[in-house]
């Protein structure tokens, strides 16, 4: 059985750098925001929906009748955020609120910059605090403030005239990713300079890198199997296109390699050979970095290089004997 795994984790940020088309209805609302104006849309029942939607929430009819709405109104409900999160629009405590603007019949969600929760109440009047520079985004409203608050109106006038038809809406989420148990055990061995796969107790296939299960049988891989440094080229490609942020200069060879004793391949680099000599069935071996540079990563192996052994016939690659034995 396997030893208990050390928890390996790494912080990372996942970015979704989306741009979105707005369509005519949302676009018109955002265009108005850029001019520091509010517009709602008339629903099927004549009520003014804010912010505008393309289709009536009840009748599902397409809507198109825009109506000017004030940039001030009444708080209908609110919550108080005493510990703002990093992503929140304010870094000091603030309120979220549903605000019914004068001239609208439904409230819209935004945030209120108030000194403390005691300053907030349902029914209080608030007004929009426009951003110094507007872009046609919901954040052109830099929050609402209690109506009596004095605001400097030292705005940059909007000079753009083209209506808004699309917006940049990047979204970055931060995570502390943890490797799975099987992966953590594999990486811990890799840090010691060993290639250790895991065997399926049912079909005896050996997986490296292991993911915790035999995908074919749906059972946990438990037995650990130390493999050699030697492998066979199952397939390869020669990369001629420079890839941004990749320190390796093209052309270079990436190969699918099956380690001796394993049943599935993984990707790695091939070097110390002429690219045009690389072929399926070629025998290769791992070239490790100096020990002091080893970490929890496959980059401990710099690349694989050819060795002087006869090629493996194509039909035998990846079809090693059960259990790799």
């Amino acid at each position: 059985m396997s030893s208990s795994a050390e928890i390996l984790s790494q912080a990372f940020t996942l970015g979704y750098t989306y741009t979105r088309s707005t369509g005519p209805i949302v676009g018109q609302f955002l265009t108005a925001l850029r001019d520091r104006k509010m517009v709602g849309i008339k629903g099927s029942d004549g009520k003014v929906l804010m912010p505008p939607v393309e289709f009536d929430p009840v009748s599902a009819q397409a809507l198109s009748d825009f109506v000017d709405v004030a940039d001030c109104g009444v708080v209908q409900t609110w919550s108080w955020v005493s510990e703002p999160r990093k992503a929140h629009p304010s870094d000091k405590p603030f309120a979220w609120a549903l605000i019914k603007l004068d001239g609208a019949d439904t409230p819209m969600l935004h945030w209120v910059d108030a000194d403390d929760a005691a300053q907030m109440s349902t029914g209080m009047r608030v007004k929009a605090r426009w951003a110094e520079k507007t872009q046609g985004l919901i954040s052109d409203i830099n929050g609402f403030v209690p109506e009596a608050t004095a605001l400097s109106e030292d705005y940059q006038a909007n000079e753009a005239e083209e209506p808004i038809t699309g917006i940049d809406s990047p979204s970055y989420l931060t995570y502390n990713f943890t490797a799975g148990g099987a992966t953590a055990r594999y990486l811990a061995e890799l840090k010691k300079g060993k290639l250790v796969g895991q065997r399926c107790p049912s079909c005896e296939n050996v997986y490296i890198p292991p993911r915790g299960s035999c995908a074919a049988c749906g059972v946990a891989t438990t037995d650990e199997v130390e493999l050699t440094n030697k492998a066979t080229v199952e397939s390869f490609t020669i990369v001629y296109i420079p890839i941004p942020n990749n320190p390796i200069k093209p052309p270079y060879v990436i190969a699918n390699l099956v380690l001796d004793g394993a049943n599935i391949s993984f990707l790695h680099l091939l070097s110390e050979c002429k690219n045009e000599d690389v072929r399926i069935g070629m025998r290769v071996e791992a070239v490790w970095k100096p020990e002091e540079e080893w970490g929890y990563a496959m980059e401990n192996i710099q690349y694989f290089k050819p060795i002087d052994e006869p090629d493996v016939p194509v039909e035998e690659i990846g079809k090693l004997k059960k259990g790799g034995r």
Partner: protein, 352 residues
């Protein structure tokens, strides 16, 4: 509609951080457990498999595809996925059986929320022009909903605390629960506000975990020779994404789903309600028109442990297992998704 039998259900413990367990390592134990309960060997022994999960939770793209490695899908199986709670994966599977395209199905849900900041992750499921760019989170919506109800006199803070106290008490008998124990209403009300008007205990905890279920035709259940509970009705409804157009003091979509699923057609002995915030349990009890005789959330509900994308299926599994164990004759399970109970699925179950 043909009756569909639930023959097996398993769930992992709800834990705040599953640590070094990836999706397959979370899923495999509950799959093995439902295979054992059903007396089958693997996903190869059912006609259809459907899962519910959301890759944004753990920030691993295509984790739902990686999860298939837990199934043993060689030779290939018929498989599907919903980027939703697995209760909706059950709905898809139930439809497959209604259509005669399958006699049996395996359903599983999993969620590993610990790597990310769940309320912020969930903000990105909202309207991408008006709401997501503000990063307004799930707790904020629930807090604004609770305030409307408190200020209109539709609930009291003491009633909210009673929901929490009962959840913790019931969870004492649930080995999978994350939060449990005896705590009085007065003690809860003495706690400070977290996101006013909510206190921390009014909000469900964040949990990692998984659950799995096997359903089939009644004929197949008899062939397998296993005890089962029967799905008599199931329906789901959604409300507008335009939050300002919704009546937050009630759950119209739950009412509609309950009517279509036939909740009122008999007494309800047990109900498991997916109420991530205490006041929402009160909204749901009213929407489902449950009487005082109904045992609500005997497991402790999701205030005792909430595995996003699995908790809805677990509500259905909890009711089914209690009916199989003779704790009642008829039960209702509810699952939800979206801000302020935007989308709701209601299942009516009966003992065999």
């Amino acid at each position: 509609m043909r009756d569909v039998a639930i023959v097996a259900f398993a769930q992992s413990d709800c834990v705040r951080d599953a640590g070094a367990r990836n999706e397959v390592e979370l899923i495999m134990p509950v799959l093995q457990e439902v295979y054992k309960q059903t007396g089958i060997n693997s996903a190869q022994d059912v006609d259809f498999t459907c899962s519910g999960s959301c890759d944004y939770q753990q920030g691993a793209a295509f984790a739902f595809v990686a999860g298939v490695d837990a199934l043993g899908a060689v030779p290939p199986i018929k498989e599907s996925h919903v980027e939703m709670d697995a209760a909706w994966a059950l709905y898809e599977s139930w439809l497959k059986i209604q259509m005669g395209q399958a006699e049996s199905a395996l359903i599983y849900g999993f969620g590993k929320s610990s790597p990310g900041e769940l309320p912020i992750v969930l903000s990105q499921q909202l309207d991408p022009y008006y709401l997501a760019p503000l990063w307004v989170d799930t707790i904020a919506f629930a807090a604004m909903q609770a305030r409307v109800m408190l200020e209109q006199g539709l609930i009291t803070e003491a009633e909210m605390a009673e929901v929490v106290a009962r959840s913790r008490k019931n969870a004492a008998n649930n080995p999978h629960a994350q939060l449990k124990g005896d705590v009085s209403v007065d003690e809860l009300l003495a706690e400070p506000e977290y996101e006013s008007p909510l206190r921390r205990h009014d909000c469900c905890p964040i949990s990692d975990g998984a659950c799995a279920m096997i359903i089939c035709t009644v004929e197949k259940a008899k062939e397998w020779g296993k005890p089962y509970a029967v799905i008599k009705g199931i329906d789901h409804r959604i409300e507008t994404h335009h939050i300002g157009s919704r009546d937050l003091t009630q759950s119209i979509s739950t009412k509609q789903a309950a009517e279509a699923a036939g909740v009122a057609q008999g007494p309800v002995d047990i109900a498991e309600l997916y109420a991530p915030f205490s006041h929402q349990e009160i909204i749901l009890r009213r929407a489902l028109n449950l009487s005082d005789d109904t045992k609500v959330n005997p497991s402790g509900g999701v205030l005792a442990g909430n595995v996003m994308m699995a908790s809805g299926l677990s509500r259905i599994g909890e009711v089914a297992m209690r009916l199989i164990n003779g704790e009642g004759k008829r039960g209702v399970a509810h699952a939800t998704s979206g801000p302020c109970l935007q989308q709701n699925l209601v299942t009516v179950l009966e003992a065999q």
